[in-house]
């Protein structure tokens, strides 16, 4: 039985198509997912991301605990800033990709994927056990709403006194939105400007309703997981379970930069990752035809030999053709779509980059 989010009744009243995702009952789409995608690219979309995990790490040893537990240099993060990072196993495999917000000198919030946060919380607790830090999984008490798209700032600004114009990308500050206490973060997973608003679960409906009303004139629409997936895919952002798995290193995913060998001290995965060469290469594929490559489909070279596998694929509203990310060990020429080799163009990631 899937868990409903604090916004479940709102989704039902909007006529959402619901889907199970990582044990949660989530809105897949409210109407046309392509229209939701386009709204985020051109105006704004409102997402319920309450399935995500929020784990607080506090205490004098909090920075040291995260520097040991994660591959990033969190001790160097200024309060109010956020960083994209990963947790790896001792063998270098990825446990989860994370955004860590430094709320204060001795307080961090780790935002983890729905499918992984119980494991991330356990690992953080275990990895921090010899350090002066407390790990507290507060996921159940949070709701997370994201406003994404070029009109996001105008919409959120109607509901807060916070200085959004000076809130830079990958920063997060406590504030009030629509009368509700929130961590206001300028982060997202769509390739657009936008905000993620972490609030108490009990405030989720109040904030949702206020955002919908404030955004009506700006073209804000509710957007589901289907649009979120095509938006992040166009933006070349990896998804845990697809591009990122326990059998994948950050280097494989082309994200070796997140592993900070220059930070002081040991960290879980350092020995395995130091000097590691990627075993495969993550590439972008644009289909020449109209059939859609899907997760798990074989990628073949010009001779028809299998050289890799599609990790994510979808029709791309922005490009007008199907796109995919795939791990390959040689130059791809086609994707095997139900027995037919459908030709591809190999492109640099991301597929889509917003105009600044």
């Amino acid at each position: 039985m899937s868990r409903p989010t604090p916004l479940h009744e709102v989704h039902k009243s909007l006529g959402a198509t619901l889907t199970d995702f990582a044990g949660w009952l989530m809105p897949l789409r409210y109407g046309s997912e392509s229209a939701e995608h386009t709204a985020v690219r051109t105006a704004a979309g409102l997402f319920d991301l309450s399935h995500m995990g929020e784990i607080h790490v506090t205490g004098p040893g909090a920075a040291a605990a995260l520097d040991y537990a994660l591959v990033g240099n969190l001790g160097a993060l200024e309060p109010g800033r956020a960083r994209y990072t990963m947790m790896c196993d001792a063998d270098g495999g990825i446990v989860d990709d994370l955004i860590v917000y430094r709320l204060a000198a001795d307080e961090f919030m780790v935002c983890a994927n729905a499918s992984n946060y119980p494991r991330v919380a356990r690992e953080l607790t275990d990895r921090a056990k010899d350090l002066d830090a407390v790990v507290d999984d507060r996921s159940d008490s949070y709701a997370l709403l994201a406003v994404q798209g070029p009109r996001s700032q105008e919409i959120v600004a109607k509901l807060t006194d916070a200085d959004l114009a000076n809130l830079k990308y990958y920063t997060g500050l406590p504030g009030t939105v629509a009368g509700v206490g929130a961590l206001i973060a300028r982060t997202g997973y769509t390739g657009e400007d936008g905000f993620e608003l972490f609030v108490s679960a009990g405030d989720a409906v109040t904030l949702w309703d206020a955002l919908m009303e404030a955004g009506a004139a700006e073209g804000l629409v509710p957007a589901g997981l289907s649009a979120r997936d095509t938006l992040r895919l166009e933006a070349g952002m990896p998804l845990y379970g697809n591009e990122l798995t326990s059998a994948t290193t950050p280097m494989d995913a082309g994200l070796g930069r997140v592993v900070r060998f220059d930070k002081p001290g040991d960290f879980v995965g350092r020995a395995a990752l130091d000097g590691a060469e990627p075993g495969k290469r993550l590439v972008g594929l644009v289909m020449k035809g109209r059939r859609v490559p899907r997760h798990g489909f074989a990628v073949v070279d010009a001779d028809g030999a299998v050289v890799g596998e599609v990790t994510s694929g979808a029709p791309s509203p922005s490009i007008g053709r199907p796109i995919a990310m795939a791990y390959v060990t040689a130059t791809p020429a086609a994707v095997d779509i139900r027995g037919s080799h459908e030709p591809v163009d190999v492109v640099d990631l991301p597929f889509y980059r917003r105009k600044k």
Binding site: L28, V292, A314
Partner: protein, 129 residues
Amino acid sequence: MSSIPDELSYTKEHEWVAGIDDGLTVTVGITAYASEQLGDVVYVQPPEVGSSIEVGDAVGEVESTKSVSDIYAPVGGEVTAVNSAVVDDPSLVNSDPYGEGWLFQVRVAGAPEDLLTAEEYTALISGDS
């Protein structure tokens, strides 16, 4: 509740069949319910004109953002026409599933079997959800 026109026949695979009463040539599409379940349709591959199809054959594909479904032949016979407009603009399956979004026509050979009435199809999808 999705629209389910009374005058059409239906299959368990969520296709509709029109013109079954004259027994000669029928038109086939997918139901409004199916198009809603699929989400935005992005690709349609109908069968080839002139091909012979038998009941239950997978004769084409309807692909949406999230999934792909086979089109099963609801009747046997010869494919006499396919809707090129829906190949060019697959969103017609969503916007007008019983009209502009039709998929193909078949000159029926033999009596079709096991088609559902609108009432029976309504009961089927009520059980689905």
